[in-house]
Every structure is written in structure tokens, then in C-alpha cells.
């Protein structure tokens, strides 16, 4: 391995160790921090010959051990405040649907207006399932009447016409599959709610929400995520209204 490549390997190893040490730190801070350290190394390398391994090791030593840097970054993180809305959101997402769907919609607003969750968590919270556990019950009410129908005819003694016994929707599926679908349908919103709570307790902010995708308009900053959230909430209200009408 030539000297220059060896230097590159030493730097890659150092940055790899740094990323590992930063795993428990807010990812929003770490991305920028690692970029700063990379830049520092690039600048530092211009002060000695490209193949000077001793010079490089001295530079990395001066920058500090990955563990020390991770600790420093943690110390400098601003104290985190969790709003009441953030705390309530996972509960509203899972149980809010039982309050005539309204509670879930409030939870949806909390989810999309918060910087705590990433876009994927927001999408999970929205679409699995609309209405939370209430959506699950709705699924059981709604699906059997929309799925396939299987009927079998039985002719009893003295009967001229057979009696039709029909089963609907997922009840036509094999028992194992029925159980699996039932389990997934119930477990999925619970899993999503637990995940939202877990992200909340970790306290990672949403880089998608708070970096460059922010529109400043007449002194107020409006996050794109919040606007997308309003559109999603609007769509959900519409879907709820259509479902409610179909029930009648």
C-alpha cells in the first residue's frame, strides 16, 4: 500500500470511529460535525507532505479522540424540551380515533407540526392505520362486506330449495392467513405508536424538517412539512367523511 493511500485509510478509520462514537448523539448535529472535522483534516493535511503518516497521526491526535469529541458534542446539545403536544401525539395517534376520529386528527396535526419525528415516522403514523386502533376496528367492519363472497347450498330434509350459507371477505381465507392478517392489522398501529414514543424519548429532531426546507414569509417561518401535514389532514378528513357515509 503506498503512503498516500495509507494516509487515506487512517483518515477513513478515524472518521468511521467518530461516526460510531456519535451514534448516541442527535443525528442533526452529527452530520454537520463530521463534515467540519473532515474539512479540518483536509486543511491540516496541507501543512505537511501527503505521505507523512506521523504528521497525520499528530493532526488526528490534536483533533481529539472520537469518544472525547462525541462527549463534547453531547455536552453542547441544547437542553431538550418536550412539548405536551409531542407527549400526547403517540397516544392520540393510537387511541384518538375512538373520539369520533377527532382525537386522531389532532394527533395527526401534532405529528406533522412537530420537529421530533422524521418524515418516515410521520408517514407511518398517518397511514398505519388512518384512525389508529379505531381504524383497525373499522377494517374489521368494512372489509368483510367488500371482499369476495363464498356460498354453499344445503338442501335440508323436506326442502325444495337449498339454503345458502355465505361467508364474506377475509372469512373465505384459510384460518392461518386470517390470523396473520388479523395480527398484522392490530399490531401495526401499536408498533407505530411505540416507535413514535421511542423516537420521542430519544429526542432526535427531524433534519428534513429543520434544515433547508424552510420558507420564510413575512417574518414567520413555515415548514414545508407542516404544509404537507395540512394537506394530509385534509385528505384524511375527506376519507373519513366518505367512510362515514358508506357506513350509512
Amino acid at each position: 500500500m503506498d503512503e498516500h493511500t495509507r494516509s487515506d485509510q487512517i483518515i477513513e478509520d478515524y472518521l468511521g470511529d467518530l461516526r460510531d462514537a456519535l451514534r448516541t448523539v442527535n443525528p442533526r448535529s452529527t452530520k454537520e460535525f463530521v463534515a467540519e472535522i473532515e474539512q479540518h483534516i483536509s486543511e491540516g493535511r496541507t501543512t505537511f507532505e501527503p505521505g507523512d503518516e506521523v504528521g497525520l497521526r499528530n493532526l488526528l491526535e490534536r483533533i481529539g479522540s472520537p469518544t472525547a469529541l462525541a462527549n463534547e458534542l453531547k455536552e453542547n446539545e441544547p437542553p431538550r424540551t418536550v412539548s405536551a403536544m409531542d407527549r400526547a401525539t403517540p397516544w392520540l395517534i393510537i387511541f384518538g380515533g375512538f373520539a369520533f376520529g377527532f382525537g386522531w386528527l389532532v394527533g395527526l396535526y401534532g405529528l406533522w407540526s412537530s420537529k421530533t419525528w422524521r418524515i418516515w415516522d410521520k408517514l407511518l403514523g398517518t397511514f398505519i392505520w388512518p384512525g389508529g386502533l379505531f381504524g383497525t376496528f373499522y377494517f374489521y367492519l368494512f372489509i368483510p362486506s367488500t371482499g369476495g363472497t363464498a356460498c354453499s347450498g344445503l338442501r335440508g330434509a323436506g326442502q325444495t330449495a337449498p339454503t345458502l350459507i355465505c361467508s364474506h371477505g377475509i372469512t373465505t381465507l384459510p384460518h392461518g392467513l386470517q390470523f396473520l392478517i388479523g395480527f398484522v392489522v392490530v399490531a401495526a398501529p401499536i408498533f407505530v405508536s411505540v416507535r413514535l414514543s421511542s423516537v420521542l424519548s430519544r429526542g432526535y429532531a427531524d433534519p428534513w424538517n429543520s434544515h433547508s426546507i424552510r420558507v420564510v414569509r413575512s417574518g414567520r417561518s413555515t415548514s414545508t412539512s407542516v404544509r404537507v401535514g395540512w394537506i394530509v389532514i385534509g385528505l384524511m378528513v375527506l376519507i373519513f367523511a366518505i367512510f362515514a357515509l358508506t357506513l350509512h
Binding site: E36, Q39, H40, R62, G64
Partner: protein, 117 residues
């Protein structure tokens, strides 16, 4: 027990150092804008101020988040573009306040400590 006391003192010193460095950075930026590498090098040249150069970057981020400095990118002849740090009006105000208080604080502490000798 003794180790706990020493550990507490070390933690306090680390916090004091961290607090003081922020104003040292502001003081460096008051005369001219600097990029990160320059700032860390100047701080690490001062005895006992910085334990490792990399630890200055989280402080720079905090100063920026607090609105005491802002940043801009500038092309460099020696490599990739550099992020320059510039002191803001709030930063200048904070530095002035610190300088006023620091002299009084330092003199008072020195005075009390010298009595214990």
C-alpha cells in the same frame, strides 16, 4: 470520596473553560472573519485553553445557534470552499458584556485565592 471531589473540580474547570472559549472565539472574530481551522489553531496555541482542536466545532455551532456568529462559504485556492465565521451585532454586545464582567470577576477571584496562600 477524594476522587469524587477531584472529579467535580475537573468537571467545573471543563465547564469554565468551555464558557470562556466561547468569548475567546468572539474576540478572535471581532478583528476579522476566520474559518474553523484558523480558529481552532489559534485557540490551541494558547496554553491550557483547548484540550483537543475538534472540541471547538460544537462550540462554534452553539454560537451560531445562539445568533452570536453567522457563517458564509468562500472559495479557497488551497482546496474545497471554507466556511467562514463572522461575529454578529448580538455577538459584539455579548463580548463587551463579558469583557466588562470578566475583569472584575478575575481580579476578585485572584484576590481571594491569594489570601489563601
Amino acid at each position: 470520596m477524594c476522587n469524587m471531589v477531584v472529579g467535580g473540580t475537573e468537571k467545573l474547570l471543563a465547564q469554565m473553560r468551555r464558557g470562556a472559549i466561547e468569548y475567546c472565539v468572539l474576540a478572535l472574530l471581532q478583528s476579522e472573519d476566520h474559518y474553523g481551522f484558523e480558529i481552532t489553531r489559534q485557540l490551541s496555541e494558547a496554553d491550557g485553553l483547548v484540550t483537543s482542536e475538534g472540541t471547538v466545532y460544537p462550540l462554534l455551532t452553539r454560537l451560531r445557534n445562539d445568533g452570536l456568529v453567522d457563517t458564509y462559504w468562500q472559495e479557497s485556492n488551497e482546496g474545497p470552499p471554507r466556511r467562514y465565521y463572522r461575529i454578529t451585532t448580538n455577538g459584539k454586545r455579548a463580548l463587551k458584556l463579558f469583557i466588562d464582567q470578566w475583569a472584575r470577576f478575575r481580579d476578585s477571584v485572584d484576590d481571594i485565592l491569594s489570601r489563601g496562600k
